[in-house]
Symmetry: C2
Subunit: 148 residues, 2 copies
């Protein structure tokens, strides 16, 4: 179960996505409504095919190309994040949640989100020492459950 997703209803997440899409200057078509609804109803991190399948339960007519095109537009406008885990097709998540990184359960494939201010600070510090400024980063912990 994903706490974060449950804090806000799919309906309200959809409204947020819709608003973000419109303020990005994009048209609200019926295909995009379906895609956004599918994404709003996802508390995991679906890839393009999964998102397409979920979208089609809402509107059969939506093509995979439209899913990709919509995700690309929304990514360019900072509305969604494109996650690319090792050896997998890209996955998508709404960007309206606070910044976080990911733990990938290598046995089950589950993705857990976490946030660490300390790590963020360390990253910035390391980059600064090398003459760089962090624009964005990816941190993924590939883990297995602790046996206790």
């Amino acid at each position: 179960m994903n706490d974060k997703a449950d804090l806000v209803s799919p309906k309200s997440r959809y409204e947020d996505l819709k608003k973000a899409l419109k303020s990005s200057g994009l048209k609200l078509t019926k295909q995009r409504k379906a895609v956004l609804n599918a994404l709003a109803g996802s508390d995991d991190h679906p890839d393009a095919n999964q998102l397409h399948r979920r979208t089609q339960t809402i509107d059969k007519s939506v093509s995979l190309a439209t899913v990709y095109r919509t995700m690309t537009e929304l990514e360019n406008n900072g509305v969604i994040h494109r996650l690319s885990f090792q050896g997998e097709p890209a996955r998508f998540e709404a960007a309206d949640t606070p910044h976080h990184d990911h733990i990938i359960d290598i046995d089950s494939g589950d993705v857990i989100e976490f946030q660490s201010e300390k790590i963020e600070r360390l990253q910035a510090e390391i980059a600064r020492e090398l003459g760089y400024e962090v624009v964005h980063h990816r941190l993924e912990l590939y883990c297995s459950k602790t046996v206790k």
Copy 2:
């Protein structure tokens, strides 16, 4: 310029790779010799096509498929690492260097290696608190040069 790669000569890096390949139970063919030499002579992180091109300067007969097959075998035996940066084809690096993470210069595409014991410890700690054990991780800082 990459300090790490310069600490050890391409020749000696090749010998190490050759040894690792043989102890993985793989046969040392002339194609693999060429691939390993190309990799040993690379102080960056080449993708399959780049590695293939470099390999062909040594032995024209080596195919791209052999580069991929060799990398897959070596990866399975822990001899090389497959890096998959956001939106790029996979890159390869010899695994004989101490563990490190990567800074990607988003303007030039340069890749800089760094190591932080503190961050490693924090990662393990965070995972432990969530009931997980880190098997491996990926940390990439996408950065731009600091203007000073």
